[in-house]
Amino acid sequence: MMPRSFARAAVLPLLLGGCAYQRYQSDFGAAGVEDRQFLTLFWIFLGVCAFMYALVIIFLGAGIARSRRAAEANVVETGRHHRSHPLMRSTLIGWAALIGVGLAGLAIASFFTDRSMAAAAANEKLSVTVTGNQWWWDIVYNSGDASKTLRTANELHLPVGVPTRIILNSADVIHSFWVPSLAGKQDLIPGRENDIIIVPKTIGMFRGQCAEFCGVQHAHMSLVVVVESYPDFVKWWSHQLQPAPMPTTPLAMAGYKYVTTGPCSACHSIGGTTAGGLVAPDLTHLASRRSLGAGTLPMNEGNLYGWVEDPQSLKPGVHMPTIGLEPDQLHAVVAYLETLK
C-alpha cells in the first residue's frame, strides 16, 4: 500500500507540470531571492576553495616528484631548510597570506550576502503563519481583519516578487520548513517562533519537504508552493476566502450531512458549515488543492475514495483514523468533498 503511494508521490510533480522539473525541489532552483544569493555565495566559496585545493594538490605533486636525495640533503642534514632556502621561506609566507586573504574574502562575501538578504526582506508585504503538525502543514494568511484571515493546508500560494514573512511554529514536535528552490531551511520548534522571508522571483510550482525527522510519516510531509502573478494570487486568495458552497445533488447533500455532523467535523473545519475542528487540515477548498495527505497522493477522485476509506493503509500512522464507512456513506462523502473546489 505504502509503496504504491510512494510511486504516486513520485509521479506527482510530473502530473502537476507547469514548471521545469529540475527546479521543482533543488538548491539550484534559483527561484527566490534568498536562494539566488545563496547560490552566488556558493559559487564564490566553490571557486576559492577549488583554487586552494588545486594549489595544495600541485604542492603535493611537486613534493612527491622531488627526488628523495634532494629532500634528504636539504631537510634531514641541515634541519634548517626554510632558512637555507629563501624560496621556501617566501613561499610559506605567501601561502599563509593567501589563506588569510581567502578566508577574509569569504567572510566579506558572507557578510554582504547576509546584508543584502536582510535588505530584500526589509519591506515585507504579506505575512503567513505556517504551523508544523505530524505530518502536515497548517497555513494561515494573516490579516488584521478576521474575515480576511485565510486558513488552508499543505499548499502555499505566494505572489511573485512580494516579500513574504513566513512565521513558523509547531503544534507538536520539531519540523523544518525547507523549500530549497526558494530559500534555506528554518526549523519549526514548539514553544518558539521562527520566521523566514521569501521573495519569490520565478512563477512556477516548487516542492517543500519537512527537513527534520518528525516521526513515522516524516517522508510524507511535503508542501506544494505555488508562485503566481499578483492578479492570479489575489484571485486565488479571494476564492479561498469564500465559504464552502452548499451541495446541489442529493448524494453530495448526504455527504455534507455526514461530514458536518459525523466524526469528520471533530477534527476538520469547513468554512460556512458547522464543521469546526482545528486539529486537522482545513477542508473548505480541499478539491482545489493539488495533493492529498501533505503530498502523499495527487488529488483525484480515486485517491479521495482511497484516502477517506482507509487513510491508515495509504499513510500508516497518520492521525486520521480509518473509520470504516459503509459504501453508500463513502460515495456520499467523496461526492461532497469533490464539491469543495
Binding site: 509503496p3 510511486a7 507538536d172 514536535v173 520539531i174 520548534i189 514553544g191 525527522f213 513515522v216 500508516p316
Partner: protein, 310 residues
C-alpha cells in the same frame, strides 16, 4: 697542628657515619627480603611467582571474566566494536536495499525508522568511539612502557559497561522495542508525549551505559599517559599516538557528561514526569539540542583525532 687534630676528629666522625649508614642499609635489606618487593633485588622463581600472583589471572571462566589484563581488555574492546560495525553495516545494507527501488515493500516505515536509529547509534556509540579506545587500551601501556593501564579494574569495568549497553540495544532490537526516533533523539519527538512505550527509554539507557564506559576508559587513558610513563619519557618524547589519545580522552571527559546529562534529563522527563524539554510547562525543546551537540561536535574529533595519531 690544629689542622691535623681537626682532620683526625673529622675522620672519626665519618667512620661513625659510614657504620650507621651500613647498619641502616643492612636493616633495610632485611626489610626488603621480608616484603620482597618488585624490583632489581627480586629475581628468578620468586619474581615469576610474584608477577604471576599480581598480573596473572585465575583459571576458568571466572578468571576469564575477571581478567584485568589491558591487552585482553583491549582485544575484547576491538572485537566487540568490530562486531557492532558489522551489525551496523548490515543495517545500512538493508536500508540501501530498501531505497534501491521506489516503492520497495521490503521494510515498513516503522522498521525503517528503527533501522536508521539503530545504525546511527551503533556506529557512533558502539563502534567509532570504543574501537579506538580499545586500540589505545591495548597499545598505550606498551608505548609508554608500563605493565598495564592505570586503574586496571576500572578498565575492565568500562569494557563491561560498553558491552552491556550495546547488548541491551541489540536485544531490544530483536524484541522489537528498538528506538525509532533517530540517533540524535530530538525532544519532544523522543519525549513521553510523542514516543510512548519503551523505545526511547532503551536508547537513553544505552547512552548512559556507553557514556559511563567511555568516561571510565578516558580516565584510565589520561592517567596512564600522564602518570605511568617510563622514566625519561617526557611528554615531548611521547609517541604521537599517545598524544592523540590524550587529546581524545580529555575531549571525552569534557564532552560526554553533556550527553549523559541530557539523556538523564530525558529519562527523568519520561519516567518521573519532569518537564525539562516540555515547552508547554516552561521547559525548552531546544535545550536538548544545545546539550546534545555540546557532545556531538567534539564527537567528530573524538572519532577523528586518534586515527590521525599514528
Amino acid at each position: 697542628m690544629t689542622d691535623v687534630r681537626a682532620d683526625t676528629f673529622d675522620l672519626g666522625r665519618r667512620e661513625n657515619e659510614r657504620e650507621r649508614v651500613e647498619a641502616e642499609n643492612r636493616r633495610l635489606e632485611q626489610e626488603r627480603k621480608k616484603i620482597a618487593r618488585d624490583g632489581p633485588k627480586l629475581k628468578g622463581e620468586k619474581l615469576a611467582s610474584r608477577l604471576d600472583a599480581t598480573w596473572g589471572r585465575p583459571p576458568g571462566i571466572i578468571g576469564w571474566l575477571a581478567s584485568v589484563d589491558h591487552k585482553e581488555i583491549g582485544r575484547r574492546y576491538m572485537l566487540t566494536a568490530l562486531a557492532f560495525l558489522v551489525l551496523g553495516g548490515v543495517l545500512a545494507l538493508a536500508m540501501r536495499v530498501q531505497l534501491a527501488q521506489p516503492d520497495s515493500a521490503l521494510i515498513s516505515a516503522e522498521r525503517y525508522n528503527q533501522l536508521f536509529t539503530m545504525h546511527g547509534s551503533t556506529m557512533m556509540f558502539l563502534f567509532a568511539v570504543p574501537v579506538m579506545e580499545g586500540v589505545a587500551v591495548y597499545i598505550i601501556p606498551l608505548m609508554v612502557g608500563t605493565r598495564s593501564t592505570a586503574f586496571p579494574r576500572l578498565n575492565a569495568f568500562s569494557y563491561f559497561m560498553y558491552l552491556f549497553g550495546g547488548l541491551m540495544l541489540w536485544i531490544a532490537f530483536a524484541l522489537n522495542i528498538a528506538p525509532d526516533m533517530g540517533w540524535f533523539a530530538y525532544t519532544p519527538l523522543s519525549g513521553p508525549q510523542f514516543s510512548p512505550g519503551k523505545r526511547a527509554d532503551v536508547w537513553a539507557q544505552m547512552i548512559t551505559f556507553t557514556e559511563v564506559s567511555a568516561l571510565a576508559a578516558a580516565v584510565v587513558l589520561v592517567c596512564t599517559i600522564l602518570k605511568a610513563r617510563a622514566p625519561g619519557m617526557t611528554l615531548s618524547r611521547m609517541p604521537l599516538f599517545a598524544w592523540a589519545m590524550l587529546v581524545q580522552a580529555v575531549m571525552i571527559i569534557f564532552a560526554m557528561p553533556a550527553v549523559a546529562l541530557c539523556s538523564s534529563m530525558l529519562i527523568s522527563d519520561r519516567t518521573l514526569g519532569t518537564n525539562f524539554y516540555n515547552a508547554a510547562e516552561h521547559g525548552d525543546a531546544l535545550l536538548w539540542q544545545h546539550l546534545f551537540w555540546f557532545f556531538g561536535h567534539p564527537e567528530v574529533y573524538i572519532i577523528f583525532i586518534p586515527a590521525h595519531g599514528p
